[in-house]
Symmetry: C2
Subunit: 301 residues, 2 copies
């Protein structure tokens, strides 16, 4: 049981965390903070938070846990603002889709207090945003990747893991750089590729005709191109090095595929397609049966 929990950013991610803790009876008091006064009022109205404030001093007084659930590019600014009021007994965590940049920002903002910051990334999302999109069961059965720092006390890491477990999540642990490499490959690169394809088609002179005949394969391939451009700009830049590495590997792969296609190399094409089909089906059987798909999921991963 947690005492006072502060949620900075009461939208989908932070709001769902608050609702899940409440549903589990796991927090005595939840205080909301948020740039948008409208969203903050709405979160209070919906019962997502028990009280609101725009003062980090008030919010952090006697807090057990602070979740920063804001766009990754804002994490450093928020941590710098709360640093002066961060008591030794308070643990801070985040929910950012990238981790190495967040860790660097946290070190700069918190100095020696960075030992109280336990970075984490819940692998869950939906198309919609804001307090009204928050769900108490958003994290049920979903992974949360915790990327502890060498400075973190084991008990602080345990507190963050326990809070997420109370939300129904499964805890995984990676180093921040490992995390960023993994998500560059399986999330950030696919987003970039989907944005690129839709932009490519939209810029052709006969785009209307092309879109007219796009069907279900196109729909699913490009679903993630409906995601927030600002959020994905920030994620792309925050994880630039790992993303460039994955993009270059993919460009090399496409170059091989192009050569086989140009050479009419049927067996060569089929070898790539067959390996992909086998791997996709094995993944689908192993992972999807463990975590039932939520058809409305769209945003951060």
């Amino acid at each position: 049981m947690l005492g006072k929990v502060v949620v900075v950013g009461v939208g989908l991610i932070g709001g769902s965390f608050a609702l899940a803790l409440k549903a589990a009876g796991a927090a005595r008091q939840i205080v909301g903070m948020e740039r948008s006064q409208e969203a903050l009022a709405r979160a209070l109205e919906l019962g997502i938070v028990d009280s609101t404030t725009d003062s980090f001093e008030d919010a952090l007084a006697g807090a057990d846990l602070v979740l920063v659930a804001a766009p990754v590019a804002q994490t450093g600014t928020i941590l710098a603002a709360l640093a002066p009021y961060l008591d030794v007994g308070t643990v801070v965590t985040d929910a950012g889709s990238t981790k190495a940049d967040v860790v660097a920002a946290a070190r700069a903002a918190l100095g020696g207090k960075v030992r109280q910051f336990v970075p984490a990334h819940p692998i869950a999302g939906r198309e919609s945003n804001g307090p009204d999109a928050a769900l108490s069961d958003l994290y049920q059965g979903k992974k949360v990747v915790v990327t502890p720092l060498p400075e973190n006390a084991a008990g602080d890491v345990g507190l963050v893991a326990a809070a997420w477990r109370l939300c129904g999540a499964l805890i995984h642990t990676l180093a921040p750089e490992e995390h960023d490499q993994v998500f560059a490959a399986v999330s950030h690169l696919p987003h970039l590729l989907a944005f690129a394809l839709v932009d490519d088609i939209a810029n052709k002179p006969h785009a209307d005709r092309l879109f007219q005949y796009a069907a279900s394969g196109f729909r699913d391939f490009t679903r993630i191109a409906g995601s927030s451009p600002e959020m994905w700009r920030d994620i792309s830049l925050a994880n630039r090095d790992a993303l460039l590495t994955e993009l270059d590997a993919y460009l090399a792969q496409l170059t091989v595929l192009r050569a086989r296609l140009a050479a009419n190399d049927g067996p060569g094409l089929e070898a790539i397609y067959t390996n992909a089909q086998r791997a996709r089906r094995a993944w689908s059987e192993a992972i999807e049966t463990a975590e039932p798909p939520a058809p409305t999921q769209e945003e951060p991963e």
Copy 2:
């Protein structure tokens, strides 16, 4: 009302055509032909066809309409085999995912009788295959692209369009080359890109870890990589020129995107992402509301 209809290939596509005509009371007799004796027997057992034969001579005697619903690479062989028995009053159509190659194969196989061949492509499919996957409503509200030849009589084109309308489909008309350019962009290229991504990830030394963290964005982006490697090898080769053109345009697009990412050009990335998001959402609103998505669709488009 059609008299005798011959369906060559009684799997998902041909079987669903037969079931839809039967459900509409639109054919007096449906004869099935099929390489696999097991599938042929199953189609008869399921009532998809009224009778079966392995003789083109018997099948074509007195037939009004023949649908060739076989992999595109086999179309020429099948048309050559039926050509000697093709009476002047019989119309032949197909269901191939590519059209220029099918037209070339038809000209070679049918000679002067090519005037009786009306090429078409139903834009519908499912993950599963074979007679057991056939559905009487597979084509309900779906597009069928007819790509008539200069030699076709208007009445023959009308007969093929009428048959598909009886199945519930919406008829669109394109030239064969237009068709192939359109589907290279919105279907064939996305399939190639999805196969390439999954193969790329599967070949990495830490593939297991990567797949472990792949979530809903990856799932939808790569769903089409679960499609048949043989079918997509054939489609890739059959539509090679148009596919190379689209692939090269996409590679150029990725090169621009890579340069912006490497240069930390946030506004440049955001411009691409924003244009893509806007176009994807406009497409989704315009097209998806007109044709409700079928979540199980996977294969040919």
